[in-house]
């Protein structure tokens, strides 16, 4: 894709002009660096621009929330990251943070407050759902006409923070319907990447977790599978590739569905 450079406001630049945005968009490491997931960050930034939301990103000042380090047992590293990030966030007097990554979301929302980081942390699917409900995000055409879709619940969004309906509402706003997987919502099956598994080989077993999940998605006979997490995206995309189903089944992030529907 040869996309143009996006206009994305950076916190430090705004602060230099004495401005303070309403929202901070927490891009996360995957949004910043993962080839595939960068497209999701772009999609979400385009939506924010389209909605003319007052926002900014931290850019070079953003650092890993420490989620993966914490789940891998490195509490020391996690807390160092947290303290650093909190210093930056508090320095800008940040109030509302929107996250695309559910791992960043969970960490910022649930684990930073005790360390002095108290923010109103919002998941982007909840934000998008609210924008649709409020009539600010108008989705008139469906570029996926005739296609069916299912939704894969990210553990840190669903079971972890009980966000099940918002992402489904957003997908439904475009597709009209979401087909449920056999294991969905609180019964959802993990993609296999949580708890720092993303960064290591799996232990010995009969099967990879993402293959187990991909097979379940394939069985559902849908054209698309929506997800809302960078790790899930990597795992499902790899799973679909390994199963040689790339032509029939594609993984899209919730934000990308809106981006396409709005032709951004």
């Amino acid at each position: 894709m040869t996309d143009k450079k996006l206009h994305v406001p950076v916190m430090a630049d705004l602060a230099a002009k004495g401005e303070k945005p309403e929202y901070l968009y927490w891009v996360g490491c995957a949004g910043a660096f993962d080839d595939r997931y960068q497209k999701v960050a772009r999609a979400f930034a385009k939506i924010l621009n389209h909605l003319e939301v007052s926002y900014a990103v931290l850019g070079k000042e953003e650092s890993c929330t420490g989620d993966a380090a914490k789940r891998a047992g490195n509490e020391m590293l996690f807390q160092m990251q947290a303290m650093q990030n909190i210093e930056v966030l508090n320095g800008y007097e940040v109030d509302k943070i929107i996250c695309t990554c559910p791992h960043c979301y969970n960490t910022l929302k649930n684990e930073y407050p005790e360390l002095g980081g108290n923010y109103n942390v919002i998941n982007y699917t909840v934000f998008l759902d609210e924008m649709i409900q409020a009539g600010k995000l108008k989705l008139e055409n469906n570029p996926f006409k005739g296609e069916s879709i299912t939704y894969h619940d990210p553990c840190y969004l669903g079971r972890g923070n009980k966000i099940y309906d918002a992402p489904r509402n957003v997908v439904k706003a475009v597709f009209g319907d979401v087909k449920e997987l056999k294991r969905s919502k609180s019964f959802g099956l993990c993609c296999g990447a949580g708890g720092a598994q993303m960064f290591k080989e799996a232990e010995k077993g009969d099967k990879e977790v993402n293959i187990e999940r991909t097979e379940e998605i394939i069985e559902r006979r849908v054209d698309k599978v929506a997800s809302a997490c960078p790790f899930c995206m990597t795992m499902l995309t790899d799973g679909i590739k390994l199963k040689n189903k790339e032509s029939e089944l594609q993984n899209l992030d919730v934000a990308e569905i809106i981006e396409k529907a709005l032709e951004l």
């Binding site: 894709m1 450079k5 996006l6 994305v8 950076v10 891009v27 490491c29 949004g31 910043a32 660096f33 960068q38 960050a41 930034a45 850019g59 070079k60 953003e62 650092s63 890993c64 420490g66 993966a68 914490k70 789940r71 891998a72 047992g73 490195n74 509490e75 020391m76 590293l77 996690f78 807390q79 160092m80 990251q81 303290m83 969970n106 649930n110 005790e114 553990c155 079971r159 972890g160 019964f187 959802g188 099956l189 993990c190 296999g192 990447a193 708890g195 720092a196 598994q197 993303m198 960064f199 290591k200 080989e201 799996a202 232990e203 010995k204 077993g205 099967k207 977790v209 187990e212 999940r213």
Partner: protein
């Protein structure tokens, strides 16, 4: 009078043995570490009404869930009857609660009906274990001891219900001109059987109460200790979001010291071990979880690592914790050490590193055990005390330390995604 004396002696023995068992467990609890503070009593009560008394998590498997719920609700009303029996026994009375009128009729009638239902369900549970090969009742942690433990407990419950019915039948037979309470099942039996069943009153009463006494003292050594501990375990559950993993306070102190070298170092403070290596490192709540677990395996059944053939079984973590406490507790109380530990001698590193922290296990657990948090506590020990993380994770740590991202990218490139 003789009956009263015999009863009081058996009650005293029961309470004495039970107190001894509780004291033993209490000394084990004293070896453990503090857990989260128990606040929000209102929220805890409503959570308990929902999860324990409403059996909402049990109903996630609807068919077997309904059977369990009926057995549980039956137990609740039958327990009221058991309290009456104890009072009757001590004071030489008969049906001493009958003054409660319609409430008594209701409790006795439902207890009588539940007794029959429970006999049927208990038989089904028992056959299910012996005939059908249900995957979640298998696994390395499910020894033949677990199997027999389940069968013994089910047998106890079956005979408890049979003897209750026998007692009711005998009681009705002995009072042809009217009796206290309502007993639909027992009355039907009396009508059907053309025999003098009066002898069943004394016989059933004694068998029933002696079985209760024996069962109560069997439970502390059985996985069916959950009969006592499930409800309190749910009440004391972690009510935070499942994926909120508590911050380690001792680390917060260290990190603050590092960031602010001026801060005074309090040397009087004992340097605690980071994470969990053995039973002394777990919290009292972890240990209570292990005692309350009835090894139903719903956790392992939904574990993505287990489903895909990895070694990890969330249930095993808590079965091992209880076993290890049985082994280490008595030694640790004497201030001795056996050179073994929960980590490695019971739970391998391979199991711990297979967890995706997806919390499917914790979501499923009918009594709110959080397996991932204990697994991560053990990872903390491995990483912070032994630097024993898998190599790829050490690389990830280094990346975060150096570049502020788990991958090897420069923080200077953090806005590249905007360039297209």
């Amino acid at each position: 009078m003789t009956k009263q004396i015999l009863f009081i002696i058996s009650l005293a023995i029961t309470l004495g043995v039970f107190a001894w068992s509780v004291k033993r467990l209490w000394t084990f609890f004293k070896l453990t570490k503090p857990s989260y503070p128990i606040k929000n009593i209102g929220a805890r009560i409503s959570h308990t009404l929902d999860v324990a008394f409403g059996q909402t998590k049990i109903f996630r498997k609807p068919v077997i869930g309904l059977m369990h719920a009926l057995v549980f609700w039956g137990f609740l009303v039958i327990t009221l009857g058991s309290i009456e029996i104890v009072i009757d026994g001590v004071f030489g009375l008969e049906r001493s609660f009958s003054f409660t009128g319609w409430f008594y009729d209701f409790v006795m009638a439902s207890g009588d009906i539940f007794a029959l239902l429970i006999i049927i369900f208990i038989k089904a549970f028992s056959l299910r274990r012996s005939i059908f090969r249900i995957k979640r009742f298998t696994g390395v942690e499910m020894s033949s001891k677990s199997y027999w433990d389940a069968q013994i407990a089910l047998t106890f419950i079956g005979f408890l219900m049979l003897s209750l019915l026998a007692f009711n039948v005998g009681y009705i037979s002995n009072h042809p001109n009217g009796y206290e309470g309502v007993y639909p099942v027992s009355a039907a039996i009396v009508n059907l059987v053309n025999m003098d069943l009066g002898w069943l009153q004394e016989f059933g009463w004694w068998i029933h109460i002696l079985l209760i006494f024996a069962f109560a003292n069997y439970l502390p050594y059985s996985k069916h200790f959950h009969v006592f501990l499930s409800v309190p375990n749910v009440f004391l559950a972690n009510l935070e979001p499942l994926t909120k993993y508590p911050n380690l306070e001792s680390i917060t102190k260290e990190v603050k010291l590092m960031l602010d070298p001026e801060a005074a170092y309090d040397e009087s403070e004992e340097v605690a071990r980071f994470g969990v290596k053995d039973v002394e490192d777990v919290s009292w709540k972890n240990y209570m979880d292990s005692l309350a677990c009835t090894q139903c395996g719903r956790c392992t059944d939904v574990c993505p690592a287990n489903i895909t053939g990895k070694l990890l079984s969330p249930r095993k973590i808590f079965v091992d914790l209880r076993k290890r406490m049985d082994e280490k507790g008595p030694i640790a109380i004497k201030g001795e050490d056996d050179g073994k530990s929960l980590l490695r001698d019971y739970i391998t590193e391979e199991e711990l590193w297979a967890c995706t922290t997806c919390n499917a296990c914790a979501q499923e657990c009918p009594i709110d055990i959080s397996h991932p948090n204990l697994i991560m506590d053990m990872r903390r020990y491995l990483v912070m005390e032994e630097a024993a993380a898998p190599a790829e994770l050490n690389a990830m740590f280094t990346n975060i330390e150096n570049n502020g991202a788990p991958w090897q990218f420069s923080p200077e490139d953090r806005l590249k995604w905007t360039e297209g």
